[in-house]
């Protein structure tokens, strides 16, 4: 008996990524996005999801992919993490993949210390490699990065103040 993992696959750049289907809330077309000041640059802003305000992350920017204009195929994956909804802008959402658990390898150590520390593993699916993402790390590391940026900002501000 080999348990299968149900993964929602989506494309960002050339890669296919996946998140567990249990963390997915829904997939929507990209509505008008309201930019928020002071937010990290990969944070696109907030959207109105049927009366709820949901923040949206651009995964292309998050993963350092070259920027591309949004088109018809772009989707927002609304994921639930820690009781909160967040949106992820992806190039396109593809399908639900069933990956046997033994076809999943832990992420290589080199990825662990890099910026891509939100990767939990690599799944093999019909000869393709699916990068499995950890929602908690993806969203929380966003917080961490923001804090880092703030600290840097604060220092820069302090330095500027000292100069003048």
């Amino acid at each position: 008996m080999n348990p299968e993992l149900h993964i929602v696959g989506f494309q960002v750049g050339r890669e296919t990524y996946g998140v567990p289907i249990t963390s997915l809330h829904e997939i929507v077309r990209v509505p008008e996005i309201t930019a928020v000041p002071d937010a990290p640059d990969y944070m696109e802003g907030v959207i109105n999801l049927r009366g709820k305000i949901v923040s949206v992350i651009d995964l292309r920017k998050r993963f350092g992919e070259p920027k591309a204009a949004l088109n018809r195929r772009n989707r927002i994956l609304v994921v639930e993490h820690g009781g909160r909804l967040s949106g992820l802008i992806v190039d396109s959402a593809s399908e639900v993949l069933k990956i046997p658990a033994n076809e999943i390898e832990p992420s290589p150590a080199t990825l662990q210390d890099g910026g891509l520390n939100c990767v939990t593993g690599l799944g093999k699916y019909r000869g393709r490699l699916i990068v499995l993402l950890d929602m908690a790390k993806l969203l929380d590391s966003g917080v961490a990065r923001k804090e880092q940026a703030e600290r840097a900002n604060g220092e820069a501000r302090g330095a500027a103040a000292a100069k003048s």
Binding site: A35, P37, D38, I47, V54, K146
Partner: protein, 717 residues
């Protein structure tokens, strides 16, 4: 005891914590009274009742340590020696604190605090020399007053309103009676045709170790008739019937505690009468006070919030409908259905407004809930400082949003504590200055426009403006040129600056600004403000101004760089129109001459390119007033006024102090609500760097600003 499922137990525990907080509050209140009237046996009993309830509730939630501690205290209080003990109030205070600490520990699931000091005090109580007792009282000691439960008190109230007299019937069971348990049933049977039994002690099914049977009965018969009925030969040796509460002539009105005369109908054994039964009556009468509030429903605030959220969404839905309808009307100008649509929508809109108001009202609670903690606190702090301070409170019934109430509690506590420890002088000093030795702190609350005002006034030393000035200069908060330009109110406002005063200056008379910056921060977060009014040597008033609610605001919508933002309308003093050429630069800051005033400006968008040099572009300037300060915000265009349902922007990654929340417009667009204090703050802090010119683009997002700095005119999606 049946084991509840976890969820149910957790819910029960929450309820318990809440009711326990109230019990502790009452305990504090009774203890305060007891301190003033130490010999009042009724107060002791009231305290005992509170402790008893707490014990029972704690046991039901299996908080054994708390239950045990309460039990010990209850027992000790029942002792004769307790009521005559001088420092009983002190014990009650200690008990309230210890129980409070235990509750907090249970809530956190943390380590229980030691109850040793309390246990020691209780032991002292119980070990009081018993010789003092008067013989008359020893009779009373044998007769432990019965504490009727809430339910029974409610029954009393109901019976009284139904036009019946309520009696307390004490029957002594004949010591020779073969079956004391049967005696109980016999008495009940005997009474059945005459009266309704509301409560009985010992309760049914409990082991009948007692020789006495106490009943609470409601009847329209006289006490003599009842006692005659109960006197069953060889079973009941004596019967005492007392009137607890007379029937109300006007059944609607609740009668306050009144002492009804009691009838003793037992010549056989006079020693069985309760000498101070009057106390018992009034105790029950007093207890009827909470009974009046029987219609009150305890609801988790979260549930109300979720209803409020739904109402908020309905309001958004209404705007959507309205917009769709307007478009529809444009497409089909002459359709008979239009009128009906419009009527239906007007009706729905009205009901919705009512619904919104009603839900908001649910969230409102009287300020009393906030004020009631202060008598104890003022007493404690005054005692610590060795001062004599009285507290007066007024306007307790002013309603305030529950969410606001909880947040404002801390700054208010701070202010009251400050007023006692720094505001009020020592008794000697007061007398020397011709003031009454006892200082007074006045807490008051009232509505003013769409704001709620809470004031803390002390008749103490006042704040010396010159001293504040000197201190601010010394601390380097302001420069000497700046200080000369400031008005009195502005100088007083300096005490709210962080770093104005630090903890090591608490003892100084001028050191009143301990943590006042915290007060201001909280108030700003609540979209309120704080003001000081003072007269040296006479009084100081701290005035907290709070919005009525946090959930809905009237807002002005405007655009900056094509983006839509909103700002609370009540902060906008006026809207001025100007041209770019009217904007002048002073010290790298932009200012605008508005009538006879020079208005500092803050730009939310980017400044017009240097190449443009047009200068004739029209701009709008929102004149914002923040306390004493006025500031102009340059915006590109105005969009109108709308009532916004605020939704928190709670996602950590987008949370910024520049934005206080977001809202959704009728057409589904998200609008961000600008946090004015933060804007003002940033404007004050940021010093333009040399060469880069005017700082601008406060509201532009991170990426925009980066590209702005790099000089690329790239516009994002």
């Amino acid at each position: 005891m049946t084991q509840f499922p976890d969820e149910r137990a957790a819910e029960m525990r929450e309820l318990f914590f809440e009711s326990a907080q109230e019990l502790l509050q009452s305990l504090n209140e009774e203890a305060l009274k007891l301190e003033k009237r130490p010999a009042d046996a009724e107060l002791v009993r009231s305290i005992r009742r509170i402790v008893h309830t707490l014990k029972g509730d704690a046991a039901a939630c299996s908080f054994r340590e708390l239950s045990n501690a309460a039990h010990e205290l209850e027992d000790a209080l029942a002792l004769e020696s307790a009521s005559s003990h001088g420092s009983l109030a002190e014990v009650a205070f200690t008990a309230a604190d210890t129980f409070g600490a235990m509750l907090a520990a249970y809530r956190r699931k943390g380590k229980l605090p030691s109850s040793a000091p309390l246990a020691k005090m209780i032991r002292e109580l119980t070990q009081q020399p018993k010789g003092k007792k008067r013989s008359k009282k020893s009779a009373k000691a044998a007769v432990v007053p019965v504490a009727w439960t809430e339910y029974e008190k409610l029954a009393i109230q109901n019976a009284v309103s139904a036009g019946k007299n309520v009696y307390h019937l004490t029957a002594a069971i004949d010591p020779h009676c073969v079956m004391p348990i049967a005696a109980r049933q016999l008495v009940l049977n005997a009474l059945a045709p005459l009266a309704e039994v509301l409560g009985a002690r010992p309760e049914a099914g409990s082991p009948a170790s007692t020789q006495r049977l106490e009943l609470l009965v409601a009847s329209d018969k006289s006490s003599d008739q009842l006692s005659a009925r109960c006197r069953i030969p060889t079973v009941i040796s004596s019967v005492v019937v007392e009137l607890v509460k007379a029937a109300e002539p006007n059944a609607r009105k609740a009668v306050p505690a009144e002492l009804a005369g009691h009838a003793t109908a037992s010549p056989a054994s006079p020693h069985q009468t309760l000498p101070e039964s009057g106390d018992e009556h009034s105790a029950i009468g007093r207890a009827s006070h909470p009974v009046l509030a029987e219609n009150i429903l305890r609801v988790d605030a979260e549930r109300i919030d979720s209803v409020l959220n739904l109402v908020g969404e309905l309001i958004i839905g209404r705007s959507m409908l309205q917009q769709a309808f307007t478009e529809f009307a444009r497409h089909v100008p002459k359709d008979a259905l239009r009128g009906r649509f419009s009527d239906a929508m007007a009706f729905q809109s009205r009901v919705l407004s009512d619904l919104q108001r009603s839900v908001m009202k649910i969230r409102m609670v009287p300020v009393e809930q906030l004020f009631r903690r202060f008598p104890r606190m003022v007493r404690d702090v005054a005692k610590q400082c060795g001062k004599d301070v009285g507290l007066m409170m007024s306007g307790q019934d002013t309603d305030l949003d529950k969410g606001l109430l909880d947040v404002v509690a801390e700054p208010l506590t701070h202010l009251v504590r400050n007023a006692v420890s720094h505001g009020i002088e020592s008794a000697e000093e007061r007398v020397r200055n011709g003031k009454p030795a006892r200082g007074t702190i006045h807490l008051t609350s009232y509505h003013h426009g769409n704001q709620v005002i809470v004031e803390v006034t002390d008749d103490g030393v006042g704040i010396d403006v010159q001293k504040v000035k000197a201190k601010a200069l010394e601390k380097g908060l302001v420069t000497s040129e700046e200080v000369d330009r400031l008005g009195e109110a502005e100088i007083l406002a300096l005490v709210f600056r962080p770093g104005f005063s630090t903890a090591d200056e608490i003892t100084e008379i001028s050191g009143r600004g301990v943590g006042l910056d915290v007060v201001q921060t909280v108030l700003h977060r609540l979209k309120g403000s704080v003001e000081i009014e003072t007269r040296v040597g006479q009084r100081t008033t701290f005035r907290l101004k709070l919005p009525l609610t946090l959930a809905i605001i009237k807002a002005l919508l405007f655009r900056v760089e094509q983006r839509l933002y909103a700002v609370a309308l009540n902060a906008v003093a006026e809207i001025a129109r100007a041209r770019e050429s009217d904007v002048h630069q002073v010290h790298n800051h932009e200012v605008l001459q508005l009538r006879d005033r020079v208005l500092p400006l803050v730009r939310l968008g980017r400044a017009p390119g240097r190449g443009a040099q047009a200068g004739s572009e029209k701009i709008f300037v929102l004149v914002i007033s923040m306390g004493e300060r006025k500031l102009g915000m340059i915006v590109d265009s105005l969009e109108g006024e709308e009532e916004l349902v605020i939704k928190a922007l709670d996602d950590q990654t987008v949370a910024t102090d520049l934005i206080s929340g977001a809202s959704i417009l009728g057409d589904g667009r998200v609008v961000l609500i600008v946090n004015l204090p933060a804007i003002v703050d940033r404007h004050g802090k940021v010093r333009p760097e040399q060469g880069e010119g005017i700082v601008s683009g406060i509201l532009l997002s991170h990426a925009d600003r980066k590209s702005l700095r790099e000089g690329t005119a790239e516009v994002r999606l």
